[in-house]
Symmetry: D2
Subunit: 184 residues, 4 copies
């Protein structure tokens, strides 16, 4: 049974709200165990435990918050023990154009550094709203499409874990069990 | 007298609309000459001519449109003749989270490769809307803050040209001649 | 039986040499079919065909060569038909510090845009030589560690395809069937 | 008289060695004041003081060390007081392909976030060795071209400060007072 960790740091509470929605999306896929933890509640065992990881940090100065970076530098010393896990990213930024995508890419870089396979979501969560390299948000998610972009990230992570780890090929998003874009 | 080139490629017309607004912002600073050109109207002489360059491309597959890349690879063979020019970037993407920031960063990378000094805008153009690494847009600019984020990029470029090239230090944005954020 | 495509564009021949080595690494894993193609020999059917893709481009102006970008923009119009494939990147640059890593990251961005899971290699191919975000090279691979960094990328791709697509969990690199670092 | 700060964090001593060489390059331009400080010796006054900043961090997990990020998040709360300063980056990584370029780009992102104009060096410091987006190194600089890539970064920063801040246009690198590439 596949295991997912939604791991986040939040200062203002916005990224925390995103993390809860990402976890909500992950549990939409049955048969996947989901843990939701802030970095101060998590440890290396949580990271070693999971098959899939959704990693969230606020955008501070256009990149990952130092607290999140410190977690990985200090606690995850298990280099070359995490290869082959699957990861994705999310971030709340102060404003659109404020570095949310850059932060997601840096989060994915950290994960790739440990051997993760990383991904984004090709679906549109609503009009002109997607999460191609992770879910980004200005402030907190308020509109339905903003919330759905968080949930869809978690759901996609759960789907990849189901397909790649548990061999449940029927859960591949291309099998077409649900609308992936509003205009479908 | 400082010279600015707003150079863009547009497929759908969205990045073209942004380019016009960027040029509108640049002419707000008196004593700066501004040229607005699509890549099919421009040549190496335009790039050599300018002191400052605002470079715009749609986000295609999360990065610069190949037509724009081709322009630089084919036409700008003047390596180490462009050092010290000042540059910035703008991009229209299909949806928020669709790679607009990544495209701006790749446009800036191209410019840095030729020795440009590149920048973003720390101002907020409106509520939760900025252009820290260039101006990004989903589709076309419609709201006032979206239009202002384009104009502000062009204005800032003109200010840096006035200050660094023409020695008009009184035009430095920190001299406080206008509101830089809506809540000021 | 897993299928791998090594797809490259090469101008000077350096990236082509890397591509051949990447393919050599992929065939080290038995039971995987490997195709090696330059973009002018490949078509959308090749991309649809594969389970795993190693994508190579020279670094031109700090990012992907326009010819490679054009291939994806023009030929791969099958949006949301490629989700869940696995991808990685390689690039030859003019000199160390010349943008090879940035090019790999842009190649991975293009793949993520189509829903690929992307990865780098945590192994060291020799003293102070790795491929954490794809394999990079200055000019052509000459030293053994430079060649091994290419082969290791292809081998790792084949391993992930074996594990995730064919369910051959015993081929997971963490199962420890070979030395992953020179000092092991 | 232009003022330059070389600001670094170093864990193993490698980035510190680079910082000393960057400072050596900066003082090659007469009439520029240069300060060299580790982050634990520096404060916001140093950052406010300088016209130009060379920022160095080791590559940890493919991006900026958390200690360097923390410095900027905790100490530099002077948002929109740093616009128009000029910046560049350098980083020591564990191995080639290990994220040094990505770290430089993240350092430049942090600086752009504060309104800096940022740049790389188009010069080659030796055969197949450049610093297009900042100076990168695997381990410590040992070969002459590796040391020169550090010095050239500092020298170029000093040149831009001389030209843009002090109006000494004769020091523009395009004026051709020295060989910029080994084969010139």
């Amino acid at each position: 049974m596949g295991k997912i960790l939604v791991l986040y740091y939040s200062k203002s509470g916005n990224t925390k709200k995103m993390a809860h929605l990402v976890a909500d999306g992950a549990v939409e896929i049955s048969g996947i165990e989901v843990r939701l933890k802030a970095i101060n509640e998590a440890d290396r065992e949580d990271v070693l435990w999971c098959d899939g990881l959704a990693l969230g940090s606020p955008t501070h100065l256009g990149t990952v918050a130092y607290e999140m970076k410190k977690f990985w530098e200090d606690k995850i010393t298990d280099w070359q023990k995490l290869d082959g896990k699957i990861g994705c990213a999310f971030s709340s930024q102060g404003g659109w154009g404020g570095g949310g995508e850059l932060t997601c890419l840096s989060l994915l870089t950290i994960l790739m550094n440990f051997g993760f396979l990383v991904f984004g979501v090709t679906d549109y969560a609503g009009y002109q709203f997607t999460a191609h390299y992770g879910t980004t948000q200005a402030g907190e998610p308020r509109e339905e499409k903003q919330k759905e972009a968080c949930r869809r990230l978690g759901k996609r992570l759960a789907e990849w874990i189901a397909v790649c780890v548990d061999g449940r090929k029927e859960l591949h998003p291309l099998c077409g069990n649900y609308k992936r874009n509003p205009w479908d």
